[in-house]
Symmetry: C2
Subunit: 194 residues, 2 copies
């Protein structure tokens, strides 16, 4: 099964590299990188990655990171339509940080619980207030949709996703191989305001 990472100019690299580091330890998952038109995309801070065009995404697991590029991208109708199609066809759709703003804009999260980056939360809510936004959540899930709070929380969510699919022992094994101290309780959020 493909794990298709959706990239764009101005992505946050740890948002997806963290989850990918966990997910690629599942032998049946292979990781592919996409952007709207394919070709090189940049985080705006010196990192340039090769990608395939989004039209070539196969149904599987979608992984949508955040980053400052999302501020512009939520208003790109063609991108949001392509993302909606890919998310509808996916078996699972995972967002990290402000990636949830992109998915929220498609309407597919309406009425569902989701979360996002603490420092962009009010903006994310403004993108689509019909989502049941959770300010206190390391990650949130609703059926096939998973979303995590900021940056590093994506690693915890990815391990939670592995736990849900393959059992907790598999998630612990992946965390151990990464020497990562897993914050395994999705409701325990050390960065939420009191």
């Amino acid at each position: 099964m493909d794990v298709s990472v959706i990239l764009f100019e101005g992505f946050t690299s740890l948002d997806f590299i963290g989850p990918v580091e966990a997910l690629q330890r599942i032998p049946e998952y292979s990781i592919r990188y996409f952007s709207p038109e394919g070709g090189a995309v940049s985080n705006g801070k010196g990192l340039n990655l090769a990608t395939e065009p989004m039209a070539d995404i196969r149904p599987g697991i979608l992984l949508v990171p955040g980053g400052f590029g999302t501020r512009k991208l939520v208003n790109d109708g063609a991108f949001i339509s392509a993302l909606r199609k890919a998310a509808e066809e996916s078996a699972y759709c995972l967002t990290v940080c402000t990636g949830s703003a992109l998915l929220a804009k498609t309407g597919l999260l309406d009425g569902l619980a989701a979360t996002s980056n603490k420092r962009a939360f009010d903006w994310v809510v403004s993108v689509n207030p019909r989502v049941r936004w959770q300010r206190r959540a390391r990650w949130a899930k609703n059926g096939k949709y998973y979303s995590s709070s900021g940056v590093s929380a994506g690693i915890d969510m990815a391990l939670g996703f592995i736990s849900d699919r393959f059992g907790e022992a598999k998630a612990r094994e992946a965390a151990g191989a990464m020497e990562y101290v897993w914050n395994s309780d999705p409701g325990k959020d050390p960065f939420a305001a009191d």
Copy 2:
């Protein structure tokens, strides 16, 4: 000041993306990516990055990740020579995971304390037993040389490096912006054998 990341075929992406996510929050640091000859390099799992040739590295901070590619690279005399030159000229040299095996091979760590990935430790020791290898350490430092244990430990080391240079408040601020639960004690290693 440049943060120069040394890449090669078969790198582990989280080894450097984690530290970079922390280091790029220091306004005076700019991140550049290098490989022996420059051009595209791959982690062997679908991720392809653009790099500059190592000959163009300017003195500053060197960041050396690990990955399965290190097994071959420790025996590449031209690479090890180029790494030695870059490390000697650097103000600071940080390694993550089996990146410490590469630096150990240059001889620059002889007699110094260093650490590495738990699951490759015996191999790393065999590369150069004259290093004072620490099996229990989230990270270790000796003057300008820092090394971390496996993968995610690099984030903790990078925050420790920021704390050493700019104070703990700055490191806490970076960790908060990343929503990362910092394992701030270099001697507390949850993955070390009892």
